[in-house]
Symmetry: C2
Subunit: 323 residues, 2 copies
């Protein structure tokens, strides 16, 4: 499909291609800002948190591009409030900021309208609100990533697969869970709503939701955590119960932040190109700040499964093979 | 000593206490900024990199305090140049920034003089340049951390201990290596300059310098990496040679970033309170911006050794005990 892999059924390929056409997939690197903006131009970066590996990667990409263009990042972390404070708009106008990048955060509709009326462009990485048609967004192929993670587990014989999403209203999390559901449907495996849990993308919720999955009358043989930090929380919950990964239970994450390769066992996960997403968002913003046209307002960057040591053949499947 | 631990010899205690007195150790939390600065006040944060776990922790602490005070972070990453560009001062004056936090970065002497003449205060976390007497700095007890890491390895019977520092001109790295040397001297173990290597605090240099140590005619039985990322590079180099941690060789890191607990094996490391260092730097700056007195210009925050799975009894020592 997107990467031209051959190990994808024709049916899946068609399904993915339809979605890619619908969502407007753009090959990375197709938008390159060439000119310069005035040195010292201020750009607002509004991000949910600054102190985790996911944020660090995106921040690294954004900062690199803006620095190359002589622009300056003004940083606002919104934490659980999702939107900047009421007076943010006044303050950013007073400081003369010329553009805005939102990362997993949102603006109120009046803030959006005020930016539009002042011709201050903004670009959103991983939107949290409802999609707005004319807003420039950068996300990963989350649905496809959820599909790939789940198909990997299905190919190992797992049939009872738990999933731990982010918040229930998170579009990127919901797309990953939709991919999970599609994979089960394509494989003819019935879905069980008890296996679908929601966390907050944090370590602690990964631990708690894994506990809830393990307490089910028939617990899963594999868990797909919708981000790496929750997968690490799952590791902790499994360790507490003396369950071994991957012998007793398989775990797949999402993100492929640097630590994913260093965990014990190294985490099988879906890589999303976080740094390149930050780069593309900043390049898009620079284009918009210079009044240039940007081809596709909605960009999805490819994800790909990275198989490491946290997944293996399901116990039941290996017993069946042995029988 | 600082934490009142009893398992420290009287001689070491005296040595540490002398240094603490000399350097002006301040108990964390002794500086608390209570009032408010004007909302939207801009503060420049100049940091070497934004995209690693170490930076994310400090950034998280700084951001929290400045947000509480209604101040806004303007972010500049200087990367290998160490100092912001020549026009940074003009631009920050034009934007009306009222304070500066430097994290493992520096200003030119003319930039420092210009800030002083404009009464713009600045606080330095982990200075990279030569110490300047009237500058407010926040660091960890790096010397003590290097001492504790090395004494831990010595207590396990290691006598040939390699160390991988940061850049040769890095004060915090040099303090850690000085602690290492002091521990050897206190234990009556001769130092060998071939065992002291310098990297750049990056993963790749951790790998390369470990290779160099293992290629010595008599390689070390333990490695003290002066930061966790280099320790992870050491893990990779050891894995490449089919050496097991800690059975074949022990590894100690420095920082205790979140991933240190998740590595395989979990990393024994020296914890420095990175987030609280960011908090204290921002609190100090807020005090200075309000014209308040800050007791001690140079603050060292306590480090402590966290023993996990990457260190064990030296092979030679266990053989000797068995004989």
């Amino acid at each position: 499909m997107i990467n031209g892999h051959r190990d994808v059924s024709a049916r899946t390929r068609k399904l993915v291609e339809e979605i890619v056409v619908r969502e407007g997939y753009v090959r990375p690197g197709s938008i390159v800002a060439k000119g310069v903006v005035r040195r010292g131009t201020m750009v607002e970066l509004i991000i949910n948190e600054v102190d985790n590996a996911w944020a660090a990667e995106i921040l690294g990409g954004v900062e690199r591009v803006l620095r190359e263009h002589g622009a300056q990042v003004v940083l606002t972390a919104v934490h659980s409030t999702r939107e900047p404070d009421d007076d943010w708009l006044d303050l950013m106008v007073r400081r003369g900021s010329r553009g805005v990048i939102l990362v997993y955060s949102d603006l109120t509709s009046s803030q959006r309208a005020a930016l539009s009326s002042r011709s201050v462009p903004f670009v959103v990485v991983d939107p949290v609100g409802s999609p707005v048609s004319d807003v420039h967004t950068v996300t990963a192929t989350n649905w496809h990533g959820g599909l790939a993670a789940t198909q990997h587990l299905l190919s190992l014989g797992h049939r009872r697969i738990g999933v731990i999403g982010g918040p229930e209203n998170s579009p990127c999390s919901n797309a990953r869970i939709a991919g999970y559901r599609s994979a089960l449907r394509l494989a003819g495996v019935a879905t069980d709503s008890a296996l679908v849990r929601h966390g907050d993308f944090g370590y602690e919720q990964g631990r708690l939701q894994t506990d809830a999955l393990l307490d089910l009358p028939v617990p899963p043989t594999a868990i797909f955590a919708a981000n790496d930090l929750q997968a690490l929380g799952a590791y902790e919950a499994l360790r507490d119960r003396r369950l071994h990964i991957p012998e007793d239970i398989s775990v797949v994450g999402f993100d492929d932040v640097p630590f994913a390769a260093w965990t014990s066992p190294p985490l099988t996960t879906v890589k999303q190109p976080l740094r390149r997403m930050g780069v593309l968002a900043a390049q898009t913003l620079v284009c918009l700040m210079r009044g240039e046209q940007v081809e596709s307002p909605r960009t999805r960057m490819a994800t790909n499964l990275v198989v490491r040591g946290s997944t293996s053949v399901a116990k039941s499947a290996s017993r069946a093979e042995g029988a």
